[in-house]
C-alpha cells in the first residue's frame, strides 16, 4: 500500500481542481513596504493554468514576501493580485482598493495551497488530523469522506503508515510530505511552495522533491520558491530571478543554465550550482 514513488496525487482529491480561467495568477505592479523598507518594487507575473514557475534569488530579494502576498499573508500597498480571476485581499470601491473582509479573504485562500519552509504542521494533531482539519471545518466535508480522502493522500505521498503519528514523531521530510497532503486536501487551484526543502537535512530533500515533481507532472499550477535548480530543470516551465524586490530575469530553465544575461543572475547561479 504505502511507500514507493508518489503517484496519482490529484486523483486522490477527485481529479485536477477546477480553474475558471486560463490565467491562474495575475500580479501587476505589486509594491510592498515593511515600514520604510521597500521590499517589492513593482513585481508583475502571470501564471497560466498547469504552469510551474520557479522563483529564485538571494535571501532578501523579496521572493518569499512576493509569494506570501499571493494569498494575502502579507498586505500590499500598491498594485493588484488576482488568483483564478478574483482580486486577492482587496476589493475595488470607486476605483480604489480597500482591504477585503476577513471572511472573504479566508474564502479566497481556500483555493490557494501553501507549503512552508518550516512545515508548520499542527503539533497537537496527528498526520491524518492535520490533513482533514480544514476540509472538515472549512469546507464542511463529512468526516468519513474527509478521512477517506486524507488516507488516500497520505498513501500517495508514501505515508499511509504514519497517519496516526504526531508531527513530533516524524522526520522533516515526512512532515513536509504531510504538509503537502494537507494543502492538497483543500483541492486548491494553485500551490505555493516557500522554500519547501530549505529546512531539510540533505538526505530528505529528494523525497519531498519527488512529491512536488509528481504534482507538477499531474498538472498542478505551482509557484515554487527554491534554490533546487535540479528541480527547476526537470519540471519548471519558467524560472524567474528576483533581486532587490524586482524580477530581473525570466526564462526557461535551459536559458538559466546556458545563457543567463544579467550579471546578478550569473553571480547568484555560480554560488548555488
Amino acid at each position: 500500500m504505502s511507500g514507493g514513488a508518489p503517484h496519482d496525487l490529484l486523483d486522490a482529491i477527485g481529479g485536477a481542481p477546477p480553474t475558471t480561467s486560463d490565467v491562474v495568477v495575475e500580479a501587476r505592479d505589486v509594491h510592498k513596504w515593511f515600514g520604510r523598507l521597500h521590499v517589492l518594487k513593482g513585481v508583475s507575473m502571470s501564471v497560466r493554468r498547469q504552469e510551474v514557475v520557479v522563483v529564485i534569488g538571494a535571501s532578501g530579494s523579496g521572493k518569499t514576501t512576493f509569494i506570501r502576498c499571493l494569498n494575502h499573508l502579507e498586505r500590499i500597498q500598491k498594485g493588484r493580485i488576482s488568483v483564478n480571476g478574483h482580486l486577492i485581499g482587496y476589493r475595488e470601491v470607486n476605483g480604489k482598493l480597500v482591504e477585503d473582509k476577513e471572511r472573504n479573504i479566508a474564502a479566497q485562500r481556500q483555493e490557494i495551497g501553501m507549503v512552508f519552509q518550516r512545515f508548520n504542521l499542527f503539533p497537537h494533531k496527528t498526520a491524518l488530523a492535520n490533513v482533514i482539519l480544514a476540509p472538515v471545518q472549512v469546507r464542511k466535508m463529512p468526516v468519513a469522506e474527509a478521512v477517506e480522502m486524507g488516507r488516500a493522500l497520505l498513501d500517495r505521498v508514501g505515508l499511509a503508515v504514519k497517519a496516526d503519528a504526531y508531527p513530533g514523531q516524524l522526520s522533516g521530510g515526512q512532515q513536509q510530505r504531510v504538509a503537502i497532503a494537507r494543502a492538497l486536501a483543500m483541492k486548491p487551484a494553485l500551490m505555493l511552495f516557500d522554500e519547501p526543502t530549505s529546512a531539510l537535512d540533505p538526505e530528505m530533500i529528494g523525497e519531498v522533491l519527488e512529491v512536488m515533481k509528481e504534482l507538477a507532472r499531474e498538472g498542478m499550477t505551482m509557484i515554487v520558491v527554491t534554490h533546487e535548480m535540479g528541480f527547476a530543470r526537470e519540471v519548471a516551465d519558467r524560472v524567474v530571478m528576483m533581486d532587490d524586490g524586482q524580477i530581473i530575469e525570466e526564462g526557461t530553465p535551459e536559458h538559466f543554465f546556458t545563457s543567463p544575461t544579467h550579471e546578478r543572475t550569473k553571480a547568484f547561479l555560480s554560488k548555488i550550482l
Binding site: 501553501m114 503539533p123 472549512v138 513530533g168 483543500m186
Partner: protein, 277 residues
Amino acid sequence: MTLANMDGGVFSLAVIQFDPSFFWHYLLQPSQGYLQGLALTFGLAVAGQTIGVVFGLLAAFARLSRAWPLRSIARGYTWIIRGTPLLVQIVFVYTALAAAGIFRFHDIDLGPFTFAGNIQAAIVALSLNEGAYMAEIIRAGILSVDPGQAEAAKSLGMTYPQSMRLVVLPQAARFVIPPLGNEFNSMLKNTSLVSVIGVQELLLSTNTLVSSTFRVFELLLVVATYYLLLTTAWGLVQSRIERYFGKSTAATDGPSFLERFAGFRLPIEADDAPEDL
C-alpha cells in the same frame, strides 16, 4: 515546654495551651456546618476560577485586538485589578457599591435554597480579580505559539476565530495550564478573604467556632490542615492535567507529581524513549 513573658513587671511562666484531643476531634469529626463551609470554599474557588478564565480570555483577546479602544479597556482593567488588593476589591464590590447606592447584591431565591447576595458579590469580586491575572497568562500563552501556526491555518482558509479555536488556543493551553494550576491553588486560599463580607466559608466557619470555644490555636491548625488538603489534592489533579496536555507534543512525559515534589527527574524508561526515526 515553657515560655517566659513579662506581666505587670513580674516574671511569670506560661504553659503552652494545646489540647490535642480537641484538635483531632475537630479535624476528623467536623460538624455539618463546618463541612458546608468547606464545600462553599471549594465552590467559590471553582466558580471564581471558571468565570475568571472567561474574563481572562475576553481580556486577552481584547489586548491582542487591532482595535485600540478594546486594547485600552483591557489594559485599564488589568492595571486597576492588579494594582489594588483583593480584599479592597471584595469590600468595594459588596459594601462600597451598595453604600453609594450604585449596586446592591440581593439574595436570589432558587426554590429550595437561596443564592445569597454576599456570595454573588464574592464570586464577582474573585472572578474579576482572577480575570486580570488570567488575561496576562492567556495572552502570553497565545503569543508563545509559533506565528507559523496561525499562518498555516489562514493559508488553509480558516477565519481568525477558527484558527484560534482549532489551532492556536489548543497549543497555547500547554503554556497556560501550569500557571492556571497555580492560579487555582491561590484561588483556593484567596476565598478566605470573602469572610470579611460575611460569607460562611471555611475561615468564617472556623472563626464562628473560635468565638464559642476560644480554642484559637487548635481550630486554626484545623483550618490550615483543611486548606493544605485542598491544595495538595489539587496538586495531584494538576500534574495529571499537565501530563495530558503534554502528551502529543512532548517526546517524553513531563515530571510526575512525585518527581516534582522530590525536585528531580527519574531516569526515562526504555519504552518511554522517543521513537527512533
